[in-house]
Symmetry: C2
Subunit: 337 residues, 2 copies
């Protein structure tokens, strides 16, 4: 590898001047700068980020923390899209992404220890449990961070307007004549799951519909299986709902499977609405009516927020609420006639 010393020797200038020229400092003569840049380029020189990081105490590296129970990591249909948006934006600003886990080598460490170990300039926390103590510690630490799908005043947070999304879902179902509407919730440690349960209740209130406790079944996690199992419980009810609003698309897809397995049809017997609008939603049969979150935007905004925080330490923390929209496909049906 060619180092700054090599460039210095070749050009006859000191490493100080070479460094300054390379970093485009103003106090270098144009002529010198031009020469140094040319030689550096010809020699194929570029700085060693490690050495640079050690002196500058800045790595131009962003940590990605992926907390989720399902263990699917990057295969996550929603968050992989978020991360991609985040990545593209971060790279524009010269930041590379590093995955941060709970280990350093073989030793169990906290996320925050790992983040300091790697010297990342900031972290994005994805898919977190609102009550994970390690995430809490991270949020309270001085390390710049942005957290998705959690609320906190102590760092930057971003989430979709879950409450409004629920209202859109119920508006839609109500307009199709549905009044017996059930909810498949996912409140195990999930902020969004809790929000959507709340939004469901508020939306029913809006139409003066009473909420039957048996119509709210907690699937626990946002998974296909939990949606499937929750739906089966609803199907066993004496008075089966005509519509189901699931807290996520994966759950909705599991629910539709349960409906089919019971010999019924969605939407002919039961209408189903999901939440997220993952890639799959448009490809299954019936196409899934759902509340779309803008995953890409969420990632991009997260990058902007985090990088701002890194560049300006005094920056106040932001809370960003992202818009959602209703996507009508074939899993919901008008039952007014």
């Amino acid at each position: 590898m060619v180092t700054i010393y090599d460039v210095a020797k070749k050009t006859g200038f000191s490493i100080t001047t070479v460094s300054r020229a390379l970093n485009n400092y103003p106090d270098v003569s144009e002529k010198t700068k031009k020469l140094i840049l040319e030689v550096a380029d010809k020699m194929g020189y570029f700085p060693n980020s490690i050495a640079r990081s050690l002196t500058m105490k800045k790595t131009f590296t962003l940590g990605v923390i992926f907390v989720e129970d399902l263990g699917i990591g990057m295969k996550h249909p929603f968050f992989s899209v978020v991360i991609e948006g985040f990545k593209q934006r971060a790279e524009k600003f010269g930041f590379d992404l590093v995955f941060i886990n709970r280990f350093i080598g073989e030793d169990r460490k906290s996320y925050i220890d790992h983040a300091y170990y790697r010297g990342v300039d900031g972290v994005i926390v994805v898919c977190s449990h609102y009550d994970d103590p390690e995430v809490k510690k991270l949020i309270e630490s001085p390390l710049p961070s942005v957290v998705l799908d959690v609320h906190s005043d102590q760092t930057n947070v971003i989430y979709s307007n879950n409450i409004y999304g629920c209202e859109l879902a119920i508006d839609h179902l109500y307009s199709l004549g549905h009044q017996k509407i059930a909810h498949i919730a996912a409140t195990d440690g999930s902020f969004t799951g809790k929000e959507r349960l709340k939004g469901f209740g508020l939306a029913l209130d809006k139409y003066g519909l009473t909420i039957d406790d048996s119509y709210i079944v907690n699937g626990g996690l946002f998974s296909y299986e939990s949606g499937y199992n929750a739906m089966n419980r609803l199907l066993k009810l004496d008075d089966v709902p005509t519509a189901v609003f699931a807290s996520s698309d994966t759950m909705a897809i599991g629910a539709i499977k349960a409906i089919k397995d019971a010999g019924l049809s969605a939407p002919d017997d039961i209408s189903v609405v999901g939440f997220d609008d993952i890639e799959l939603a448009q490809h299954i049969t019936p196409g899934l009516t759902t509340i779309r979150q803008n995953a890409e935007l969420m990632g991009r905004k997260a990058a902007d927020l985090l990088i701002n925080q890194i560049n300006d330490e005094d920056e106040d923390f932001s809370t960003i609420l992202l818009p959602v929209e209703l996507i009508i496909r074939d899993s919901t049906k008008d039952i007014t006639n």
Copy 2:
């Protein structure tokens, strides 16, 4: 942050001894080691990976290079699974993942420059074009690497047994009575696409079926749209095939959509077989018959190969051929009666 100097001062030993104790060197007395470890732990000390990397010229970091035309990056239904497998395995060995792109800050650089800039110990190249000059340069460089879905003698490579996969697909279709079998290929810069086209030809030969040129349509890229468009071309033929073998699941799903849009049915009018067995394959209707690649295994093997190469420079390069299997679902139909 607490540094090795702090631990040295606190324990009364030199940083040399502290370093040795921390790294579990044999030539430190048990008593000393124990004391140092205790104090270090109590102080919340752990080494700074940046400083460590600078002296050791090793970062315990693996670069991920994601080359693909579709621009979907981490959302890729097949490769996101591969990466997840790779990640989990790499982390077990203490390596963290960093994404390598073609920029350093705002400046366009090659992958290899970026990899050196970040000092990664090795790279995995995913989804590459076999003829991408930058990938070629990378393969030929001394940087340890493992490349997926490409063949080369100059580095470690891993790919599924595409040829055999094609044979399985055609065996299946032939056994269902199909003889008019078309192929939707994806040969634009893709090794796997080319392999599968070859495998298709070999399999037809096996049954003495002649290959009609009009039955081979090159979709170009592995995308939904290209599958859709390719199928439309097949549907315009005077003698429409009874079965289609697509070079990937996404293409197969696009093809099925084209069949539906033409007012026909898969599998009643045309049977369709894909390749990959992505998550979606089991959820669409009809469930997609396909050739499964073991994406997770591909990722894990890649990590093993790469880490071996890093730890033992004299290690010979390996070529690993991964098994595939036929997954029969509902998109193929017996037409013998």
